[in-house]
Symmetry: C2
Subunit: 475 residues, 2 copies
């Protein structure tokens, strides 16, 4: 999702603005080119939201699109002087409202800072600006025989800066971990416009507190990332996929436990529950048997993936799989993954709207989570499909509802919350990879407790004493 309508440059004369906005715009224009400052309300309104449902968004006063670190510093100095809130944005593909505008804010879109500055195969690092699209980086490093593993579903659109802001995950995490594990160092513009470097460009380093990791996942509330040093991995062999059908979600979860306890390291281990399988069947006519109550997809990118798939296939059968289908090659693998890829679209087709939850539980509790979600769906009379990064215990229970039906909306929100409560009960977290944003801020306090909230707020105050950085998010 590239920034919409940014070709429509503000007209300082024609756009109706009040005095405050006018002053703000004039100050911004003192350090930014005219085409980097948008004030046309029709244009700025298009920057108000990310992709989350049920998240209020305000009306930005102005949208800025800086191209240099100095321009970002100018924006932050201006914001500090005028006490104007700043909402940093990447591609706005987030699912928690973390990039939603607040009234009168400066939307600081980093999408124009989109250069890959360096790729080093010896040091296995890339240095990038925050607006680089995940897929652009992934393809650029591939040419050097390298891989940047983090692969959120939105990887064709989302930016590295957004990935860092939300510490995003993806399908690869079961083997390769999340974004946080690939961020070695950052250049950050602080709230007052000063530039701070954190971390390093070396493989190791323990000089001082790990502020790099503090910024990763901080949802733009501590500073503006303007440059990142990212760790890369050697490009792995093409993965080979296996699909296993089960007569119950419990059996599929048992297979997940056996695979992980057996010491296997799949490059992907995804689960779709009955509801999701049915929705996918209806949308895509893939012809999955109606008796399939859960579908497990496992992949390996090891030197001998067929051998690994065979071993995992046996574990699936021992756990009760009704059918095990290993792919023979990349094309067949891709076909098997289609079911997973179309899950969210298929669930959206059920009722027109979805709310995607993001509860992560210890993988030993995955079965309990899915069972509990079925109970919650029945209680509220709703369809809730579970798609899960099963190897990580990270589930996306997806509530399907009719947004035109107020009662259904209420029940959707209630069930969404009950699922988070269930996740906490099971020793899990309210968010595995999507972040807190606006959507889950009441729940953050329940997860981390009053002492945790107090200390986190105090850390926020250190970096943002005036409270101008993405206010109303997280806490």
């Amino acid at each position: 999702m590239a920034p919409r309508c940014d070709a429509v440059i503000m007209s300082r004369i024609e756009a109706p603005r009040d005095e405050t906005t006018s002053n703000l715009t004039d100050r911004l224009l003192a350090g930014l080119p005219a085409d980097a400052v948008l004030v046309d309300p029709d244009v700025t309104a298009s920057y108000a939201n990310d992709m989350a449902s049920f998240c209020p968004a305000g009306t930005p006063a102005v949208v800025v699109l800086p191209r240099t670190v100095e321009q970002v510093q100018h924006v932050m100095r201006t914001a500090t002087e005028l006490r104007v809130p700043v909402v940093p944005q990447g591609a706005r593909t987030g699912l928690s409202g973390g990039a939603n505008a607040t009234d009168g804010c400066i939307v600081l879109s980093l999408t124009k800072m989109d250069r890959v500055l360096e790729i080093s195969p010896v040091d296995r690092i890339a240095v990038v600006e925050p607006g680089v699209v995940n897929a652009t980086l992934s393809r650029a490093v591939e040419e050097h025989g390298l891989s940047y593993p983090p692969d959120p579903s939105s990887w064709e659109m989302c930016t590295i800066g957004g990935n860092i802001g939300t510490a995003s995950g993806g399908l690869c995490c079961v083997k390769y971990g999340v974004t946080a594990e690939y961020v070695l160092g950052l250049d950050v513009v602080l709230a007052d416009g000063r530039l701070m470097s954190t971390g390093r460009r070396t493989a190791k380093g323990v000089a001082g507190y790990d502020l790099t990791r503090l910024f990763v996942g901080s949802e733009g509330s501590l500073g503006i990332v303007v440059r990142a040093v990212l760790a890369l991995k050697p490009r792995p062999p093409q993965q080979l996929v296996l699909a296993a059908e089960f007569g119950s979600a419990a059996a599929a979860c048992e297979a997940v436990c056996r695979i992980m306890a057996g010491g296997h390291v799949p490059s992907l281990l995804e689960l779709m529950d009955r509801t999701t399988v049915k929705a996918v069947n209806e949308l895509t006519r893939m012809g999955l048997p109606e008796s399939t109550e859960a579908l497990l997809l496992a992949a390996f990118d090891t030197p001998d993936p067929a051998a690994d798939l065979a071993a995992v296939g046996e574990l699936c059968e021992a756990a009760g799989a009704t059918q095990v289908v290993p792919a023979d090659d990349a094309a067949e693998s891709e076909l098997l993954l289609q079911a997973r890829r179309s899950s969210l679209v298929a669930l959206e087709a059920v009722k027109g709207t979805t709310m995607i939850d993001d509860v992560c539980v210890p993988r030993s509790r995955l079965g309990d989570l899915i069972e509990g979600v079925e109970r919650i769906a029945a209680k509220h009379g709703l369809t809730i499909g579970v798609v899960a990064h099963a190897g990580d215990g990270n589930t996306h229970p997806t509530v399907c509802f009719d947004a035109q039906d107020p009662d259904e909306c209420r029940r959707a929100r209630e069930s969404f919350d009950e699922i988070m409560g269930l996740g906490l009960e099971l020793g899990g977290t309210i968010t595995g990879e999507h972040g807190v944003g606006v959507l889950k801020k009441e729940w953050l306090a329940r997860e981390i407790g009053p002492v945790g909230v107090e200390m986190q707020r105090a850390v926020k105050d250190v970096f943002d004493p005036l409270g101008i950085l993405n206010p109303g998010k997280l806490f």
Copy 2:
């Protein structure tokens, strides 16, 4: 190194104490058993230092050895009320003075909190108390087919709490990363005695700021870790080692670059320079050829390590190796590793005393670092051997000197500092895995700059407003 002399319990009547210490001891004893409070000066003096050279240490007022979280909370509440500094300690194997006592402090030794509370093969986690020795945990998880990779040289003695405090590394890091990457969640007693939980026990989680990582490597300056949830890996196959001899350090570094740029993932990639090879030869009579100017050790724990070693052996030869010796089995591998294992002892034998530096540079600059260290050694007329976790660019230039010779001591310290300066010039860090402690605190400011120092100090103030947690370290 278990706490020394802790069988000698204080005698409250016999030990000479001033009034302040007496009051402190009485207050501590209100919440701790008598055998957990040591005040005999001969005993407490034995807790004054870790293993760093050139680091001043003060005289502790008292040493406490709590066994429960509640007892740690009592210690911290007491310290806060009486404004007494607290120095947390593990096994005191650190190399930067980070665990050195300050005058009148409470030494808080966590060595008695040494239980492995849980090991879960399905969730691939262990839950431990801070005093668990690294080797104890490693062996305990091995029985479950699992591995806890971080392996500092002192792994037979050092504690997990100490590892967390210094974010320690080891030989395995080139493939498996450092301690920080294995810490999922922490229970921390804050300066005022309150208990805070950070992080999670799930594979993923992004709820709020990553305070877990903030504590890892914070050298006991932000709070007292009393429990940790650690990530585990499946136990890898036994590694197979290759040794390659080179006619120059530059050629060995070139081999390192080719191996890493070639996409190989060794489980170990260590380099010893000419000085180290010579010292090892002299100590152990291993019979390495005198013509060897650098020795490279590479290992693989892959499904087919022999094939990987063959490929890496070819790269070594292409880079100019004079001899390549791949091991056939585990026993031969162990033999090859002996040279590396005896390096530090061998360098210590040169002059009686060593100062071990810990500079990490981008691995593409490894050759420049080693060349620069040779220059610094020549300038100061000193022997400096370089042992390096070459795959990480993490070098341990080890300055050999006669501690009885004041001029040599001065030159040792100067060359030690010049090596850090060189590391920074080459885009590296002053510490890859040993931490800042007392030894490098002047240098931390040079690495992270004034804004970094200001923000780090402010973060410290959030968690330790009275400045009682390990004062005089880091900053």
